[in-house]
């Protein structure tokens, strides 16, 4: 690395988050915090049926209502199949969606959209749209969808990329490695577990929202709460047949995403309404729409069978995933693939593997990208099975992990076999501090002692459990991030990135990387993300990519700007550039002791001699996706009379390489773990027998409040990733994979029953206690 790793001026420090104070003082930074004069309000009419054909739509009464500007529906909008998935191109998700279809596939599906002068008028107009439906039999579970003769959800002729539409299968995978039958036959011990995750929702506190307007040249501007501004531009261009150069997408601050805002849901609707009316249109989902009609995690059943030798060495792993993708197949294949690709390499000692599964359409809400992205589902089953295996072997669960986990310098055939909806790329893991994570975490929670003697106080039984996980850092060979850095004449810098800070703090981290290379304090770098007119391309904030992919782009751009600044300084100091050093805003000649400030360099380059703008752009595509690793330890209390589970302590230790900003990295872990605790204890969308969601609000769908969770204790165990920007890898997702299995395993330790269906509600815990399933 060009910049010394030892002398660190900006990286590894808890600098002030660059947007922290403006957020903490309430500056109008979010999508709907600006008022565009004359903006209409857009609202969507949603299907009351789980599965129905639209026979006719009569919008004349709605259109006649004073204050209504337009009504869009399948009768007046061209049919163009696309996917809302918000991924790179070519898209691995099927083109099975049109903006307004003549068929609805879940309760909450999009039927029509209205633009009106006020929200009240828009809502009134929705009621005046007359839709005649032919109600079709609905499939409300994966089993029904796969049954012989089941109603076909995607019977349209113009969809593309569906694996087997006639049987409601959106995607399928089948990855054998070695000989699984032989593997189990040669094993001394085998165990099998089936774990299930229900519908859960990201619940960013800011609902999806967008404002569409026209600039002075009549170009369409979308100011939107998105994780993927460049994909929004491409997808809106496709869905509305617009030339890309007529669209500008601005990503302001985003009030949380967690995957739900990778989906391009509202933007095409707002854009279509604006284009039809020629007026600005603002739209926001209400909270119930966020639950029902944005996206959810893929509900999934994962069966894991492990075979091991007597000494605990894993010999064979079979993993079968049955994923419910809901009414549309966005991320169906890639989430399914990730169930295996992000889990199986962790235990690379097993020579015999079989990963297979399918993603199935149902007439229920649409699943999509959600932090963890299949790994969460996979690790739940894998790590519960590992706990069971440890019991069977009479081994400590920590020891079993230590024996089997992948090490630096090792590989797994899975890296090559499974990629982003296609084959992957071979990869050797270059940094892994998981052993240390395990030891530090075990010590911190008092593992050995608590494991020996589970406590009991009245009805409360206490237990400890653990789990491990890994993720990736971006998508190998697919993701691309770019950055532009320009030097101002006073020696400050402007950093432009397409990378999408959605609250993660990536603007700050990227500024730190630039500051490190350019030898200036972070305050001397102003960051801007993201605007398709002004910032270079970036795939956006998903797949734990930004620090690694965009960070490497920033590193390269900064190195180039540094080289150019040193060249100018070389002319001023009369010495070759390679003899000069850059630090503290100055270029210094160690030989002569002479120096010039960056401000002097900037003024000279801008105004005085051989003028040029000191500016550089760089792109980065990862050839590898270095996994971050984490170990999770928790202590639970189970009330054996009521079934209530309390998480008393939660310790997480993680290896994210060199943490560029330790506090932000901790915050990612803490937040992910609390989301995971929610998944484990309370979060589940419930449906009526007609597919209507019963708890689409923040009162009945309970995400953790400050009183529901302990003070999560996190420890960053540094490693140094040689391919990372200044040693870093990702941290955003790895934390969410731990709570489900760790809590389930702790409950098992406390009361001897395995909870394999999330969430572990009092009813399920009590019922498991009554059945009293104790093994070993």
């Amino acid at each position: 690395m060009e910049v010394g790793l030892k002398r660190r001026s900006a990286v590894g420090k808890n600098v002030r988050k660059v947007d922290g104070l403006s957020l903490a003082t309430g500056r109008p930074k979010f999508a709907l915090d600006i008022d565009i004069p004359g903006a209409l309000v857009g609202k969507i009419l949603r299907s009351p049926h789980a599965h129905a054909r639209i026979l006719s739509i009569d919008a004349s009464k709605a259109e006649a209502l004073p204050g209504v500007a337009c009504v869009l529906h399948c009768g007046n909008v061209k049919r163009i199949p696309f996917t809302t998935a918000g991924q790179g191109w070519p898209e691995p998700s099927p083109y099975d969606t049109v903006l307004f279809d003549s068929k609805v596939r879940y309760v909450g599906d999009q039927v029509a959209a209205v633009a009106a002068e006020t929200e009240e008028i828009a809502e009134e107009a929705l009621k005046l749209i007359k839709v005649e439906y032919e109600v079709l039999p609905a499939v409300l579970s994966v089993e029904e969808a796969l049954a012989e003769g089941a109603p076909v959800i995607h019977d349209e002729e113009d969809s593309q990329g569906i694996y087997d539409a006639a049987h409601n299968i959106a995607a399928a995978v089948d990855i054998p490695v070695g000989d699984i039958e032989r593997g189990f036959a040669e094993s001394d011990v085998t165990v099998e577990e089936i774990c299930e995750i229900p519908y859960s929702q990201h619940t960013p506190i800011e609902p999806h929202c967008v404002i569409a307007y026209f600039d002075e040249d009549g170009r369409l501007v979308l100011r939107t709460s998105t994780q993927v501004p460049f994909h929004v531009r491409r997808i809106v261009a496709r869905a509305l047949e617009l030339p890309m150069e007529r669209i500008r997408v601005i990503k302001p601050r985003v009030g949380g995403g967690f995957g739900s805002k990778q989906e391009v849901i509202l933007e095409p609707v707002a854009a279509a309404l604006a284009l039809r009316t020629g007026r600005p249109v603002r739209m926001a989902l209400d909270r119930s729409e966020v639950f029902i009609s944005s996206r959810t995690r893929h509900p999934m059943r994962v069966r894991v069978k492990l075979g091991a030798k007597k000494d605990g060495t894993l010999h064979a792993i079979e993993m079968e995933a049955t994923s419910n993708t809901g009414a549309y197949g966005t991320h169906a294949l890639t989430v399914l693939s990730n169930v295996g690709s992000k889990t199986l390499p962790l235990y690379n000692k097993a020579p015999h593997l079989w990963f297979h599964g399918k993603a199935v359409y149902t007439n229920l809400p649409v699943a999509g990208a959600y932090r963890g992205y299949g790994a969460t589902q996979g690790y739940f089953a894998l790590e519960v099975a590992m706990d069971e295996l440890a019991g069977r072997l009479g081994m400590d669960p920590v020891e079993l992990r230590l024996k089997n986990h992948i090490r630096a310098g090792e590989t797994s055939p899975i890296f090559e076999k499974i990629g982003e909806g296609r084959e992957g790329v071979p990869m050797v893991v270059r940094s892994c501090a998981l052993s240390q994570c395990l030891r530090v975490g075990a010590e911190r929670i008092g593992w050995d002692e608590k494991r020996k003697s589970p406590r009991r106080e009245g009805p409360w039984a206490y237990g400890v459990g653990m789990a491990v996980s890994m993720q990736g850092s971006g998508i190998t060979g697919v993701d691309m991030g770019a950055a532009t850095i320009m030097m101002n004449e006073d020696g400050s810098f402007r950093l432009l990135v397409g990378a999408t800070d959605i609250g993660t703090g990536s603007d700050t981290i990227l500024a730190q990387i630039a500051a490190e290379v350019l030898g200036v304090p972070v305050e001397r770098i102003s960051v801007y993300s993201s605007d398709t007119d002004f910032t270079p391309f970036d795939v956006g904030a998903y797949a734990s990519s930004t620090t690694y992919v965009s960070g490497n782009a920033v590193l390269r751009a900064a190195q180039e700007v540094r080289r150019k600044a040193l060249e100018v300084a070389a002319g001023m100091l009369g010495e070759p550039a390679e003899h000069l050093e850059l630090a503290d805003g100055k270029v210094i000649s160690p030989r002569t002791g002479k120096s010039v400030t960056l401000s002097e360099v900037g003024h000279r380059a801008t105004y005085v001699a051989d003028q040029k703008h000191i500016i550089a752009s760089a792109s980065f595509v990862p050839a590898e996706s270095p996994p971050p690793f984490a170990a999770f330890f928790c202590e639970v209390a189970v009330d054996t009379e009521t079934g209530i589970v309390r998480v008393e302590r939660f310790v997480a230790t993680a290896d994210c390489g060199v943490p560029i900003h330790p506090k932000l990295a901790e915050g990612q872990l803490e937040g992910a773990i609390v989301q995971g605790i929610g998944h484990a204890l309370t979060e589940e969308l419930l449906f009526s027998n007609r597919g209507r969601c019963l708890n689409a609000n923040l009162f009945d769908y309970k995400i953790p409040s400050s009183l529901d969770v302990p003070d999560v204790e996190v420890v960053l165990v540094d490693s140094e990733e040689p391919t990372g920007p200044l040693g870093a890898k990702s941290i955003a997702e790895v934390g969410i994979n731990g709570p489900l299995p760790a809590i389930s395993n702790a409950i098992y330790h406390a009361v001897g029953v395995r909870l394999t269906r999330a969430p572990f509600t009092p009813e399920r815990v009590l019922s498991a206690l009554r059945q009293g399933r104790r093994l070993g």
Binding site: R16, K17, A24, T25, G26, G256, I673, L698, S706
Partner: protein, 157 residues
């Protein structure tokens, strides 16, 4: 109807609709820190102070604030002259996406005006009606304890 109210220390005389929420009124008046997360009183993102007490602006009708004192985050401080609570949230790393932050700071302000030496449990109790999906609450609790310490040290205005 038109009502008088005191908004962030200034007298205002504003037109309001009978069914309008305080949330809608405040955003209309440019107080964009007041966030709509649910409009049903469950998330706390629109928390403001009404005569010094934390309320969810989505559950208060605009006409109800006639003659009363409303304080939003904009009334505490700004980028050039931030309130210590705002500083503490940045310092402690309590701001991730920042969408729940205004409401969190307003309930914290109310808590610390009653009790400048709260325990971590009291802080967790005070913010329990305000949902955050990013932070896991750890650093929000840290921030409020830090601001309380600064208050006890006389560092608040």
């Amino acid at each position: 109807m038109k009502i008088y109210l005191e908004l962030n220390g200034k007298q205002r005389y504003e037109e309001v609709a009978p069914g309008e929420s305080l949330l809608s009124l405040l955003r209309r008046l440019g107080m964009k820190s007041v966030k709509q997360g649910c409009a049903t009183g469950d998330c706390g993102a629109c928390t403001v102070l009404l005569d010094g007490r934390a309320v969810r602006a989505c559950t208060v009708f605009a006409p109800q604030v006639r003659g009363r004192r409303v304080t939003t985050l904009e009334g505490l401080g700004d980028v050039d002259d931030p309130h210590p609570l705002q500083e503490a949230f940045v310092e402690a790393g309590a701001v991730q996406c920042g969408f729940c932050t205004p409401g969190m700071i307003m309930v914290a302000y109310e808590l610390l005006s009653r009790n400048d030496n709260p325990t971590p449990e009291e802080v967790r109790e005070a913010i329990s009606g305000n949902l955050c999906r990013c932070t896991g609450y750890v650093k929000i609790v840290d921030a409020i304890l830090l601001a309380a310490k600064w208050k006890r040290e006389g560092k608040w205005r």
